[in-house]
Amino acid sequence: MLQRCEACGAFAYPAREACPACLSAGLTFVDAPRRGALLAETTARVPSDVYFRERAPWRIGLVRMDCGPTMVAHLHADCIEGAPVLMSFQLDKSGQAVAFARPERETPNMADDRQWREMTADPKFRRVLVTNGRSLIGQEAVAALKAAGAKTVFVGVSEPWRPFAGEQLLRGQAGIEVVTLDAADEKSATDLAADIGGKVDILVNTTEYVRPGGLLDRRGTGIARDEIDQAYLGFINLAQAFGPSMRTRGADGINSSAAWVNILSVHALANWPAFGAYSASQAACLSLSHCLRAELRPGGVKVMNLFTGPVDTEWFQTVPPPKVAPRAVAQAIVSGLRGGLEEIYVGDVAEEIRQRLAANPKALERELDR
């Protein structure tokens, strides 16, 4: 995204008050064409910044964008002076958006570039904990992460005495380790962290506890308590058990800890009364995720929130389409990690709510009340 002049169409960078070409004040951020050419490159061998000093040598360069501006960018190792590049903004380890230039065309093992991996949380080579393997999303996430080159996928199963559909897809598979985890139980989370806390590079929180109903159609607080127990307290247990060691391992070589993923209902953003109490539990988790993001940032560990509308699972049986396939959620997890994103919206419902909320929150509230 760059500023573009509404009057003359010129792109501006860095951000300005007025258009450098025509002095118009009407500058809005829009998606800019990503292509450019690498004008010049340099390698910082002894940077003064402590972060880059540890990672030297570090390549940066000047890119002239096809749309006009010239930008300083971090460089993929395969970028050659004079050759075309594709630009993107990436979140660096401090959570800051920085310009990054990659070769225009795919090169061999392009995603393995050292500087690129600093900007992303690619599951390739990394060890991932999927916290709940009982759910369809959990099982699809395990498969997708494995296919994306994760070295080991640990998958949590609560109440191991209780069989579940899809169990055979997890047990006895190469690269998949089934571990006992009931995230809602403090001791269970702590015990597992004692075993594998030092080797979880990516944690994918697939806790799923969906129940219909708001306030008046339910009796008592039993279900609400379960919702809070599973989603909110489960989140806290996982964060307290795994967060501290993940934060200390943000720079631990190739498979350093990289990211924490939450799967949240998009109704965390705007209450859906048909699943009203569930929406509220998700809103609590969303708020908590922002706290976690701030607390993991000093270690360079990203927090990615994936927002989804109703998923095609049993507890959304009565909800008409469109619904999100669990596999689509799993694929979005992988692509979000590869891109080093903080937020990702999966499916039409999630995307629509995001847009409607930005446009008119009160209208959205009325619309969801049907």
């Binding site: 191991p160 005495w161 209780r162 069989p163 009931d182 403090e186 001791k187």
Partner: protein, 260 residues
């Protein structure tokens, strides 16, 4: 009874002449609980959360907050637990007579049958065969069904399949007979529930619950160490927590057994 006899009992316990057998599983989050179809309300699992452990939260002391459903771990069922016992007087754990908390037990060893068939059911002829050997079951005695189920790993212990649990228990006829013809005070099992895993398909469903609680009798489940009890002569001490209007509670169950 003379006060002297009670002191003799205390002395016998202390000397080991009367053995105290613990029939209780450790109350922990790992122990299986009953699983109902997901649209029904579920028993809250056992949770143990530290309040402090000689640390900043309480420098000299260790203690926990504990939460659990009434029917978790080794637990007691009061008559109010089932619809058949809902209108009886003194049908909850806080109002039941304290004297019912101590009673002798008959232990029926069905471990061989249960080893052959997880859906093993106790029947009247089986109890009659037991009586032929050990004598008629006296009134106000517990009947404890020994299956050695408590020795299994948790997965085999719960033994859940697509169509529900497969664990041994009594059939409807024997429950009605034990309650009406033998006047037992209660029925105890090693499995999760006094009824068989598939007892929902019996007529009436869940006959142990149906007949026991309908007649104001009690249930004990998730017992262990029944193999250490004699067929007759053990005395069971089972006093549930005094929960207001409680339908049951986890508890410590012990048996007094004469050593000779």
């Amino acid at each position: 009874m003379q006060g002297k006899n009670l002191l003799e009992l205390a002395g016998a316990i202390s000397s080991g002449a009367v053995r105290v057998v613990d029939l209780t599983f450790t109350l922990s989050p790992d122990f299986p609980v009953i699983v109902l179809p997901p649209e029904f309300g579920q028993a809250a699992p056992v949770r143990i959360q530290e309040i402090s452990r000689y640390d900043g939260r309480g420098p000299a002391w260790y203690w926990n907050n504990v939460t659990f459903g009434e029917h978790t771990g080794t637990h007691f069922d009061a008559p109010i637990h089932w619809f058949t016992g809902k209108d009886l007087p003194n049908n909850s754990v806080d109002t039941m007579p304290a004297k019912d908390m101590i009673a002798p037990a008959c232990v029926i060893d069905c471990s061989a049958g249960a080893a052959q068939d997880p859906d093993f059911v106790l029947t009247v002829p089986l109890v009659e065969a037991w009586e032929a050997k050990h004598g008629r079951i006296p009134e106000r005695h517990w009947v404890l069904l020994r299956t050695d189920w408590s020795k299994k790993g948790w997965r085999d212990y719960a033994n859940l399949r697509d169509d529900g649990a497969h664990t041994p228990g009594p059939n409807p006829a024997v429950m009605k007979w034990l309650v009406e013809e033998r006047g037992i005070i209660g029925f105890g099992t090693e499995t999760i529930g006094t009824d068989a895993g598939q007892a929902g398909h019996f007529e009436p469903p869940y006959p142990a619950h149906h007949f026991l609680h309908g007649a104001g009798r009690y249930g004990l489940q998730c017992l262990c160490n029944l193999d250490q009890l004699p067929a007759t002569g053990a005395v069971i001490v089972a006093s549930p927590l005094k929960i207001q209007n409680g339908s049951g509670s986890p508890l410590r169950v012990i048996a007094l057994v004469s050593a000779n």
